[in-house]
């Protein structure tokens, strides 16, 4: 039999097969695996990382929210948050507050785990890793303040927060819940590591990291650890940024533009609200709205009137003329990230607490002068420490009514015994829920759908 034929054909087959690998190695279009430093740069630009998840739910828990008419037959996540239920979601439902944050952490972990293996400039790698550490710490900041007890140095070593996940492989085991102490240490260490390699400025894109962005997150972290002087120190440092500590003057700012974050220089580390978080509007408490000075420009810019709504009318009684904030409607409505004003408020709070009233009032007035028409502006002046302190807290509420910080403020004020009971009433003035001082409900339970996958995981009270 003609052996040479067979050999020839087998040879042909071999040549064909060896050509295969080249044939198969084509990059698909429109999508890619992360192969270069530039890929990771684009990766950090992802829109989802520009947003914080679960903001509407957090807002529903605050004393800024009001849900009237109350419809007892509708009990969804927003209603449960509004009445401080133990669990806000069913076993089969996803909690955006938790899963959204961990999704963003997944992005950062993917970068941190894989960037060393790809080709590219070593300095750029370091910078991107630093940005990822900053972004990850910022997400854990929200998680620790939702699922961990308010920071108390006496119990922080035993209070449980959330698992500190550092892997991006779906097949790895989830670590146990870190303690509040541990998690704060991880976050602060990560930020300190990051600062060395972060760029000096993020003026081109305020959603990206910078040294000053890291300082502002450190300021927030220390504020909620109630280490006010350290918080103020970092706040001061964050304001030493190129471009300065300018507070945007709201005179002439159009509602349609506000607070189009990239256009406002007052953003230090910009973040928007994740529009996929669920409940898209938070209706503002009418008493809170009334407490604004009617000439305060923030009132008109932050809140929508109920009738001329762009929103789902099923959730809003169009005749009630009520104000609400579109916390879930995304980037252009709510400023979730750190701002110059917030840093100034942190400085002011520390000053007020240490009875440096002049410094405190200066910070407050530097903000307020930009929040009123010149004709309506009156500088604050007082020699009463408590009055100034209350002004600081009030300005925090006016400046950041619907970005989630109020809930965290309520937690720390409650730890200091400064938070009265919060009462929810329905349209007939019946009390439907009360958040008592020192209530366990100030700390959320880990959602059921997370507990199901981690059967041994202890939950909060």
């Amino acid at each position: 039999m003609k052996k040479q034929y067979i050999i020839t054909y087998l040879l042909l087959l071999c040549i064909l097969l060896s050509a295969c690998n080249k044939f198969l190695d084509v990059p698909p279009k429109g999508k890619t695996t992360l192969n270069t430093v530039n890929d990771f740069d684009l990766w950090l630009g992802s829109q989802t990382l520009s947003e914080i998840s679960g903001i509407p739910q957090i807002c529903w828990m605050t004393d800024h929210a009001q849900k009237i008419p109350w419809r007892p037959e509708i009990i969804a996540e927003a209603e449960r948050a509004y009445t401080w239920s133990e669990q806000l979601t069913d076993a089969d439902a996803t909690s955006k507050m938790l899963s959204g944050a961990y999704n963003h952490i997944y992005y950062f972990n993917t970068l941190l785990e894989n960037i060393d293996a790809v080709t590219g400039n070593a300095d750029q790698k370091k910078q991107l890793k630093a940005e990822a550490l900053l972004g990850r710490a910022n997400e854990y900041f929200y998680l620790i303040n939702l699922y961990g007890k308010p920071y108390d140095p006496a119990t922080a070593a035993t209070d449980l927060a959330v698992p500190f996940v550092v892997s991006s492989d779906v097949n790895t085991t989830t670590p146990a819940r870190a303690t509040v102490q541990e998690l704060y240490k991880y976050m602060i260490d990560d930020l300190n590591t990051a600062i060395i390699n972060l760029p000096a400025s993020n003026a081109g894109n305020r959603f990206r990291g910078s040294v000053h962005a890291a300082y502002s997150v450190l300021a927030r972290i220390h504020l909620y650890m109630r280490d006010y002087s350290e918080a103020a120190r970092y706040a001061e440092m964050s304001l030493q940024r190129p471009g300065g500590a300018v507070v945007t003057n709201y005179n002439g700012v159009l509602k349609n533009v506000f607070p189009r974050t990239t256009e406002l220089n007052e953003m230090i580390y910009a973040r928007g609200s994740d529009p996929t978080s669920g409940s898209i509007v938070s209706i503002a408490d009418s008493a809170f709205i009334k407490s604004y000075q009617s000439t305060d420009l923030r009132l008109a810019l932050t809140f929508y009137n109920g009738v001329a709504s762009a929103f789902n009318y099923n959730t809003v009684n169009p005749s009630a003329g009520m104000r609400f904030s579109a916390t879930g409607n995304g980037y252009y409505d709510v400023q979730v990230g750190t701002t110059v004003a917030e840093m100034k408020l942190i400085i002011a709070e520390n000053a007020a607490r240490t009875n440096d009233l002049t410094a405190a009032l200066r910070q407050l007035n530097e903000i307020r002068i930009n929040r009123f028409a010149p004709a309506n502006y009156r500088a604050l002046a007082s020699g009463n420490q408590n009055e100034v302190f209350q002004w600081v807290i009030r300005e925090r509420r006016y400046e950041m009514p619907m970005n989630g910080m109020r809930w965290f403020d309520m937690r720390r004020l409650d730890s200091e015994g400064l938070m009265p009971a919060v009462v929810r009433i329905d349209q007939s003035k019946n009390v439907i829920a009360t958040l008592q001082p020192k209530s366990a409900r100030y700390t959320l339970q880990i959602p059921l759908n997370a507990i199901i996958y981690n059967p041994g995981m202890p939950n909060n009270q």
Partner: protein, 1193 residues
């Protein structure tokens, strides 16, 4: 007309003349008047002849050996006419006589000229000689047979043969052990034919099993294979390819009445994937095709083979999990050109809504609507009324037409008295627009098809050229499509060893679609045109808005965006053009000693262009314009950010794919007892799809001009447009990505495969196959690229054993067992993170970013199906055959989007975790109950039963003990319903349906349901037992399907009839809700006041409106047995080929078929609802009538 027909035609003319002449002659013979008288009891014929000569003077001549003149006949002749005497003499004998010039000739009867003529046309005697192609030596003992018939002969010692009386259209098959078969049309002198050595096709003709890669003798097949040939396929008239296979092949489920996950059922042996493609792989003329099934011309089917288990299909590797359908199209046969022309014409009447299950009483919906606003929601109504009047928002979606709403508003504004309003409502209730709807929007659907093909050639070069034109006028006006298909196939012997098969196809399909609002979305009291025939708006569709709202918004500069159905169908047109091209070439080189080398490939391309134009007069365009309009204020005019004018959306998609294949085939008989049929090959395959979409505004289709549009302002600016003026703005596809998009996809595969069949003594056979597929899908790690898929099978032909030789009634009895693995792919996940490019719109300017598409999954694998099959093939009593198969398919590692631990950050993620089992039985019976020369009765029975079970999949989690005190901790029954809608619930069959246990109505009009303890409860999110509130009702996919076909042939006539049964499944039916736009029968039977609960069957309208969708619609009251039976087809056919006029006209075949499809159906449930009607609302089935002409000449 081919030249060979010209002499034949002349010949016919001559004969006609001759026949006419003879007829005249016979007429003269009848005037012959001689008489004879003989009176004797028995007289010998010689005596009679003597008397004739004596009495009449006529001589008689005859051949001695033809007539025994000593025989006697009874003679009682008295003046008997001579002809009668002669008749008596030849009576009962094969003789005839003639009279010429006083001489009577008696001779052996010859066939009448007419008979001769007919037989000369249809029957020929074939002669020829068979020799070996290489040596030229005559082959003695070669078998020559008529294909599909019984006539056969063998060659003599010198290789010569004669085969008498062969139908001239017959195809001869010449076979000789060790040589390749020859197939050719019968001609009287075939001359010398050369047969070539080869082992490929020494089997009986027409019953080899084609796996697409090789042909295997049926007795050697170990896998589950079903086949249908031309005769059975063409028993009915097929206007599309798939309908001809419906219920003809066991295990193949084709059902267009039932959908699973939005697709019509088209599957083999159940569903074994979740995210992959669940349909079978289609192999056309040897290569998998990526083109649409519509490209397969039903007139071209030679046979269709279905490969169902691993032994049969493993050779197709990772795409074979769902089985393989192999289509062989007709090929040319050597000989004179043959022409076939076919034409079909079918009509399907439009729907008759007066026979639908719609509520006849027009006041049911109106009454509900009135009670709703008048009794319950006066204050809300006032708010809504105000916002509608001021144009603030179009809220009024209160389940009534604009006219009904206006009556209420007019009354509330004091513009109508109560009596006027009452009479207004009475007027509305008395009108029903269903007749008008039929007149304005519907027509009878008509399908016309013309098919012409020419084939022929010599043994060295064969050709087959065909053209097909199909035109469809659909039931909805302004909706139609047409299609042209051209195909050429040739087979060329380049040299004695090298042959080339070349196939090309071109298909072009063009369709026009115009929007016709479905009647279910139109209130029954709405009119489509006023008395003058001007179009009127209706109050439904995506831009529902009332007349008052429109008046108010028009004052602000908005356009009238209401839907005018009569205008819309003229002003909006979607035109789609699909051009498909396919070419394949196969070189085959015979190396010798049973070894062949094949090198071939196929290239396919498909280009789809879609063009949707909506003029400015359409509701569609106006709504788009309004969407981006800034309304006029006291001082400024309205700003139209979208230019006024037409809206044009164009999209195109392009598919290109090629497969090339190199294959060695070894087919040899070793000694007398062993035979091997093996293949070894490699395949490279690439498939590229790309697409693009773009939109143009302010476009004028006449001037071809378009206005510039500021997209930045529309989509990227800070300006928010107020969507209050756009009812259901979210339903408008007008995001930036809807207008502009690009898409590109490149899949590549490299595969190596081997298959071997070893047979011993023709009794036992073993098969084995292995295939390795690599693709570019799974990144670079070989661990994920290589996945060998294999199969092993064995068959035992019991009937060939010695002990069976005395069992005469068993002709074939084969047992086969096979096991192996098929694969399936889903390209949605990789072991690394896959990121997609996306714009980040948060920042200004929007810039490109990468966003997570699928997370890293280090455990990713191919899906695979472990396939086990036991089968039995039988032929008993010569005329009954069939098979019986049992299978167990276990698909594991199925990729499914499952919830994963939320701490991992990527839930839900695609993971290889799901698993599905399919088990089933298939049975076929094919019986020729009668098989006479002109009479044949054939029955085909196909029975399939498939039972699926999802072994592992996502399930809503039941309660966890530590939270059992909380109602929240229990999974809600609603979550179970939602999850079940996905189709895969652990422990249940695929497509399982859950239902609540309906327990009637309580005193406040709320629906009650039985809880797990049998108590009647109200269901709310707080009162809910999760799984405990529900019953599992079984699958929504028919588990049993039966097809029964009968065909009775009487001569040239046949009747064919097909019965289909689908059973063992459940179906959901809609709630008769008064809230519906067009309420269905029984909608009035709801709770209205206390006390009604004793008599009515439905809860209050308020309950239906709020909880109806969640609970009532999912209750067991609206789940019923879906089993149904249809009389699918009745086809009658007569072939006029034996009519002389047809022969004169040159037709060798002239068949007229008449078919009625979907004649009758019955549903085996309470409502006699059969899914074959297409909708629960439809009580009857609409038949399709088809007339077909099938000719050959």
């Amino acid at each position: 007309m081919p030249s060979s027909y010209v002499p034949k035609l002349l010949f016919i003319m001559k004969l006609t003349f001759l026949l006419f002449f003879l007829a005249l002659m016979q007429a003269s013979a009848t005037t012959f008047g001689q008489e004879l008288s003989i009176k004797e009891k028995n007289v010998s014929i010689s005596k009679v002849f003597y008397e004739i000569r004596k009495q009449t003077g006529y001589d008689i001549l005859h051949r001695v050996n033809e007539l025994n003149t000593n025989a006697t006949i009874p003679a009682n002749f008295k003046n008997t006419p001579l002809l009668s005497v002669l008749d008596q003499i030849i009576k009962g004998k094969d003789l005839e006589y003639s009279i010429e010039n006083k001489t009577i000739f008696i001779r052996k009867k010859e066939k009448s000229l007419l008979q001769n003529v007919i037989e000369r046309f249809s029957q020929i005697d074939v002669t020829g000689k068979i020799v070996d192609a290489n040596t030229g030596n005559p082959l003695a003992g070669a078998n020559i047979m008529v294909k599909g018939g019984r006539k056969s002969t063998k060659t003599g010692a010198e290789g010569n043969f004669v085969l008498n009386n062969v139908d001239e259209n017959a195809v001869l098959v010449i076979t000789y052990v060790g040589y390749k078969n020859i197939e050719m049309p019968a001609v009287s002198n075939l001359g010398t034919l050369s047969m070539e050595m080869g082992f490929g096709e020494l089997e009986e003709v027409g019953i080899t099993v084609n796996t697409g890669y090789q042909r295997i003798l049926p007795q050697q097949v170990t896998g589950a294979v079903s086949q249908i040939g031309t005769k059975a396929y063409e028993s009915r008239i097929n206007t599309d390819f798939l309908s001809g296979l419906q219920n003809r092949l066991p295990g193949l489920l084709i059902n267009n009445d039932i959908q699973f996950q939005g697709n019509n059922l088209f599957q083999i042996r159940g569903i074994s994937t979740m995210t992959g493609n669940p349909t079978p792989l289609i192999v056309l003329d040897g290569y998998p095709t990526d083109l649409s099934l519509n490209d397969i011309n039903p007139n071209e089917i030679e046979n269709v083979t279905v490969l169902k288990d691993a032994a049969a299909a493993a050779i197709y590797g990772v795409r074979a999990s769902n089985g393989v359908i192999i289509i062989d199209r007709k090929k040319g046969v050597a000989g004179d050109a043959r022409v076939a022309f076919r034409s079909t014409f079918s009509v399907r009447p439009h729907d008759n809504y007066s026979k639908f299950r719609y509520e006849k009483d027009g006041s049911v919906g109106l009454n509900y609507f009135r009670t709703r606003w008048e009794d319950g929601n006066i204050s809300t109504f006032a708010n809504y009324r105000t916002s509608e009047l001021t144009g603030a928002q179009s809220y009024l979606t209160g389940f009534a037409s604009d006219a009904a709403l206006n009556l209420l508003i007019d009354k509330s504004l004091g513009q109508l008295t109560l009596a006027q309003m009452e009479s207004g409502f009475a007027d509305l209730a008395s009108y029903n627009n269903s007749d008008d709807y039929e007149d304005y929007f519907l027509r009878n659907a008509v399908t016309q098809q013309y098919n012409l093909n020419v084939s022929g050639g010599t043994n060295k070069a064969l050709y087959y050229i065909t053209g097909n034109y199909l035109k469809n006028q659909l039931n909805q006006r302004n909706n139609d499509n047409h299609k042209i298909q051209l195909s050429g196939r040739s087979n060329i012997m380049i040299s004695k060893k090298l042959s080339l098969e070349l196939l090309t196809d071109y298909n072009e399909a063009i369709s026009n679609a115009a929007p016709i609002t479905d009647i279910s979305r139109i209130f029954a009291d709405e009119r489509f045109a006023d008395a003058d025939g001007n179009a009127l708006p209706i109050y439904s569709g995506s831009t529902r808005a009332g007349s008052r709202f429109t008046t108010a918004t028009q004052a602000m500069g908005y356009l009238d965006q209401r839907m005018y159905p009569l205008t819309e169908m003229e002003e909006v047109n979607t035109r789609q053009r699909v051009a498909d091209f396919r070419v394949s070439a196969n070189f085959k080189y015979q190396i010798g000693s049973g070894l062949d080398f094949t090198l071939g490939g196929i290239y396919e391309s498909s280009a789809t262009q879609q063009r949707r134009f909506a003029s400015e007069n359409s509701s569609l365009t106006r709504t788009h314009i309004n969407r981006f309009t800034q309304p006029a204020t006291a001082t400024t005019a309205a700003i139209y950010n979208l230019p006024r004018g037409g809206y044009l959306q164009e999209s195109q998609s392009l598919l290109r794919s090629f497969t090339s294949r190199a294959q060695l085939t070894y087919n040899k008989q070793i000694a007398s007892n062993h035979s091997i049929n093996a293949i070894l090959g490699a395949e490279v395959r690439q498939r590229i799809t790309e697409g693009a979409r773009s939109a143009t505004f302010g476009y004028n289709d006449q001037t071809l001009l378009q206005q510039p549009t500021d997209y930045n302002r529309l989509f990227n600016s800070s300006t928010t447009f107020n969507s209050n003026y756009i009812y259901n703005a979210s339903g408008l596809p007008l995001g930036y990505n809807d207008l502009f998009a690009q898409q590109y996809n490149d899949d590549r595969f490299v595969s190596g495969y081997m298959n071997a069949v070893y047979a011993f003594k023709n009794r036992y056979s073993l098969t084995g196959s292995i295939r390795i597929d690599q693709s570019n899908l799974f990144g670079t790690d070989p661990k994920y690229r290589y996945k060998p898929l294999w199969s092993l099978g064995a068959a035992w032909n019991i009937d060939r054993e010695n002990f069976m030789q005395n069992v005469n009634w068993v002709n074939a009895f084969k047992l086969r067992v096979a096991k192996g693995f098929n694969g399936n792919i889903s390209k949605e996940s990789l072991p690394q993170v896959v990121a997609a490019y996306a714009l980040n719109n948060v920042t200004l300017p929007a810039y490109s970013t990468l966003t997570l598409l699928t997370p890293a999954n280090s455990g990713l694998r191919w899906e695979q199906t472990d396939n086990f099959n036991v089968g039995l093939d039988y032929t008993i009593f010569k005329n009954i055959s069939g098979n019986l198969d049992f299978y167990n398919k276990r698909s594991t590692d199925i990729l499914a989007k499952l919830d994963v631990d939320p701490f991992k950050g990527v839930s839900p993620a695609l993971v290889n975790q799901a698993s599905i089992r399919n088990r089933g039985v298939e049975f076929t019976l094919n019986a020729d109950w009668l098989r006479k020369r002109k009479l044949n009765w054939n029955t085909g029975l196909v029975f399939s039963y498939n039972k699926s079970k999802v072994l592992e999949a996502y399930m809503p989690k039941p309660s966890i003990p530590q939270f059992s005190s909380q109602a929240l901790a229990t999974v809600s029954s609603q979550a179970v319903i939602t999850a079940a809608a996905g189709g895969y619930m652990k422990g249940e069959p695929v497509g399982n349906i859950y239902s609540y246990r309906y327990a009637g109505v309580n005193a406040t009009g709320q629906a009650l349901y039985f809880d797990s303890k049998g108590n009647k409860t109200i269901l709310t999110s707080a009162i809910d037992e999760g799984y405990g509130s529900l019953d599992s009702r079984g699958t929504s996919i028919p588990a049993t399907n039966i097809g029964l076909s009968n065909r009775l042939d009487i001569g040239n006539f046949y009747v064919f009839c097909m019965l289909n049964y689908y059973g063992n499944f459940v179906v959901r039916t809609p709630i008769p809700s008064p809230v519906a736009i067009r309420p269905i029968e029984g909608s009035g039977d709801y709770w209205k006041k206390a006390g009604d609960e004793a008599t009515v069957s439905l809860p209050s309208a308020a309950y239906i409106n709020t909880n109806g969708a969640a609970y009532l619609a999912n209750s067991d009251r609206f789940v019923m047995n879906g089993a149904y039976l249809t009389l699918g087809d009745v086809t009658v056919s007569y072939n006029f080929k034996d009519f002389e006029t047809m022969k004169k006209a040159g037709f060798s075949n002239f068949e007229l078929k008449l078919q009625a499809s979907n004649l009758y159906t019955v549903g085996f449930n309470r409502d006699n609802y059969s899914l074959a009607t297409g909708s629960y609302l439809k009580k009857y089935i609409t038949p399709t009538y088809t007339l077909g002409l099938f000719t050959n000449f």
